[in-house]
Every structure is written in C-alpha cells, then in structure tokens.
C-alpha cells in the first residue's frame, strides 16, 4: 500500500470549498432559525388574540342578550327600567404602544335570575346588574407595560315590596357582588344601540355605516345617576327609543411586539401601536326581551 497516497490530507482548495459550503449551510440554518422564531411569535400572538377574542365575544353576547329578562316567581314581575345603559369611555393617560386613547365604552345590562328552590321564599326574584368596562392597567406599576383590560362586575339586588325599591344582596355567596378580569390587552370596545328601523339610539358605532354620528352629543352616554336609578325602581329615561339590537366591536392588541409586523405610522390622533397587530371582532345581539 502506498501510505503517502492514502494520508496526504486535504488540499487548500478543498478546505476552502468545504469551509464555504459549511458557511453557507450555517448561514441558512441561522436565517431559518430567525425566520422560524418570527413565525412562531406571529402565530402565537395571532392564536392568542383569536382564542381570547372569540371566548370574550361569546361570553359577552350570551350575557347581553339576557338584558331585560324578567322572572315570574310570584306576583307581578317588576319592570326592568333601562335594561341596557351605555357610559362614556374614560380617556387614558399617555396613550401609545398597546395603550389606546381610551379603553372603550362601558355597558351595563340588567336581567333577573331565577332563585334556587330554597331561596324562593326569601326572594321573589333576584335582579342581576352586570357591567363590562375597560380600564387602564400597568402590571406591577410599570408604566411601560400599560394596556387596557376588560373587567366584568356583577351585583345582585332583591326587591323590597314595602318600599318598591331594590337593595343589594350582601353576605350571600350565591348572589355575590364581585369583579373579575375577562380579557387582557383590550384595544377597543364600542357599541351601537339601534331601534327596529336601525335608527341610531346610542354608541359610537353606527348600524348604518360609520359616516355620521361622530359627534359626541349624539352618542348619548348615560351618567352615573342613570345607572343607579333602577334601585329606586325608576327610569332615567335616557333612551326613549326602544333599542332593538346592539352591535358590538371588540379589538385586541397583541401582547408582544412582533418583529415581522411593520411599524406603520398611525393616522393623526391615533396612538402608535408599534409592531403589534390588532384582531377585530364584530357581533350583533338582537334583544328579544325588550
């Protein structure tokens, strides 16, 4: 055997060529890693938005549809005054990034729940008030992470026949007064109340398009006193027209910045979302109890 021939090693050219090919492969792997990472981030945020948006939408639609339901336990059912109420959005301090100008309109709905068999002697019926509203939230007090989150607050009221008023039920775990977070990274929550002719009743959306009704006065927001009037069994009468349907718009902003999402300039007056994207949902609720 010719030992010199079998152990002569690589030539310089072979080494250079193999190094070049190796470098190309490593570069391709690196680019692949970066691309896969971006794709993973994008898909993760898209799916998170979709999951949480759809769940929130279903949850809210199911509850808002109940507005105005009256329970017939015994005696005459007490009318529900102002079964749906819309309140003004609260402006946010220092909007930008994932924090919009405001956290959306606030909606309150009222409907009766059927007391359990054992409670029927205590309560003729139990009226539930639920409010959905967005609030500015800085986790751990870190302003840089400020965003909106959607809250749901519910309280239960019993009717006092002697005074024809409602009193809040306290100390009964079956009828709690409690608050919970429904959704993080809320970006917009808007409503449109309309009558059977689709005439606008309230809200900053519009059922016949969104060209008119941009003036604040035409959005017809209720004051805090209107929300409390029902306790005295009176109506504040803000919406004389009977609302037939509610349109809802829900937007969610992605929790993290995505490097593959372009940092586009927002129109004047709109906060910059940076490299985040929005997922939008629209829904309509026809109110059958009003």
């Amino acid at each position: 055997m010719n030992k010199m021939q079998t152990s002569k090693g690589f030539t310089l050219v072979e080494m250079l060529v193999s190094t070049a090919i190796g470098a190309i492969i490593v570069a391709a792997l690196f680019i692949s890693f970066v691309m896969f990472k971006r794709t993973y981030e994008l898909q993760r945020e898209m799916i998170r938005n979709q999951e949480s948006g759809r769940m929130t939408l279903d949850f809210m639609v199911e509850e808002i549809r109940n507005a105005g339901y009256r329970d017939f336990n015994k005696g005459s059912p007490v009318p529900i005054n102002q079964a749906i109420i819309l309140e003004r959005p609260i402006p946010n301090a220092s909007p930008g990034g994932s924090l919009p100008n405001d956290c959306g309109e606030q909606i309150s709905v009222r409907y009766d729940t059927v007391p359990s068999q054992s409670d029927m002697s205590s309560y003729n019926f139990v009226r539930r008030q639920v409010k959905y509203y967005g609030e500015q939230y800085a986790p751990g007090g870190q302003v840089a992470l400020s965003r909106c989150r959607l809250k749901r607050k519910q309280c239960h009221y019993a009717f006092v026949g002697s005074t024809s008023t409602f009193s809040k039920i306290t100390g009964d775990s079956k009828y709690p007064c409690e608050e919970e977070t429904v959704l993080d990274y809320l970006y917009d929550l808007s409503f449109a109340f309309s009558d059977y002719k689709y005439n606008h009743v309230a809200g900053r959306l519009h059922s016949l398009g969104n060209r008119k009704w941009q003036q604040d006065s035409l959005r017809r927001y209720a004051g805090a006193e209107c929300v409390d009037d029902f306790k005295n069994n009176i109506s504040c009468g803000i919406y004389d027209d009977r609302a037939r349907s509610i349109d809802m718009h829900l937007s969610i902003v992605s929790g993290n910045e995505i490097s593959s999402v372009p940092d586009e300039d927002e129109p004047d007056g709109m906060p910059d979302k940076g490299r985040r994207f929005l997922t939008h949902y629209n829904s309509t609720m026809v109110l059958r109890n009003l």
Partner: protein, 182 residues
C-alpha cells in the same frame, strides 16, 4: 484476503457532489419555509372565516327578529322572495342619509353592506369588479317552499347567503342557510 483499492475509498466527495447535496438541502429548506408561510396564512384565513361567520350570523339574526317587528306599514317589507331574492349586499353602502324614506329591505341592505365592507372585523371592500377573474359575491337568496304533509300545508322560507372571496388572496366560499317557518 480481499484486497482493497485504497485510493477509491479515500478520495472524498467531489465539488459537484457537494454542490448537488447543498442544492438538495436547499430544496428541503425552501419546503419548510413554504410550510411556515402556509401555516401563517391558514391561521389568518381561519380568523377571517370566523369574522365571516359572525357577519353572516348577524344578518340571520336580523332576519329572525323581523317577523316580530313593529307593524309599521310605511316601513315594513316582508322577507319574501320578491323583496329579498338575489339581494346584492355589495351595493347600497353609500346612501348616507339616515332620514331617507326607504323601506326595511333597503335599510337592512345598507346596514349589512356597510357591515360586510368594514375592514376591521368585516370582509373589506370587494376588489375591482372589472378585474379579470374577480367574481366576489355577497348575495342573499330566498326561496318559498310549501310542503303538504298529512293534509296540512306548511310554508317555509329558505333563506340563503352566499359569500365568495376571490379578489383578496382569500379564495374562500361560505354558504349559510336558515329556514323560517311562516
């Protein structure tokens, strides 16, 4: 003892072989890239289809409650095949007058058209109708169906909605149907 040809076994890989191997690996990479792009697009499409479903259910919900609407003869248009069949939901968005004395059908069409056209959460504007291959459709169909069973005549309305997207790289069709009893 078998004699090896040592030169043959130790000569390594030629440049051509290495390049061919690199090309084959490259093709593999391209395939995987394509898969990630496709999966992202599929998630996007799923979101869009979800929005389409919500938009269509809104229309059906509107129709379902109409049968209980206030009897307002100046406004009321029955959901008949004469009124609603072939209703094109891509036209009628632009009437900006809320006070125009138009009937229920036209008001509904304006509402639905605007709702479907909305970019945020809707389907967006349809593409250029003159563009080649553009057959986007947003149409409603109403069929009157009469069935006689055990001597009883039952009348139904079958309401269908057909949504087809071709113009915005979505290529999706969606049909939904609802039966209303009379």
């Amino acid at each position: 003892m078998r004699k090896y040809n040592t030169n043959m076994h130790c000569r390594g890989v030629s440049i051509v072989e290495a390049l061919i191997a690199a090309v084959v690996v490259g093709i593999g990479f391209v395939s995987v890239y394509t898969m990630t792009t496709v999966s992202t697009r599929m998630i996007y499409k799923a979101t869009q289809r979800d929005n389409d479903t919500l938009s269509l259910s809104m229309i059906m919900d509107d129709l379902a409650i109409d049968r209980f609407a206030v009897a307002d003869s100046s406004y009321y248009d029955p959901v008949s095949s004469a009124n609603y069949n072939n209703l094109d939901l891509t036209i009628g968005c632009d009437d900006d007058s809320d006070d125009a004395p138009i009937g229920k059908k036209d008001r509904q069409r304006r509402r639905w058209c605007n709702r479907l056209e909305k970019k945020e959460g809707g389907m967006g504007k349809i593409g250029d109708p003159n563009a080649a291959g553009n057959t986007d459709q947003r149409k409603m169909f109403v069929r009157n169906v009469t069935i006689t069973s055990n001597g009883y005549i039952q009348k139904y309305k079958v309401i269908g909605l057909r949504i087809e997207h071709y113009s915005r790289n979505r290529n999706q069709k969606k049909y939904t149907r609802k039966i209303l009893h009379e």
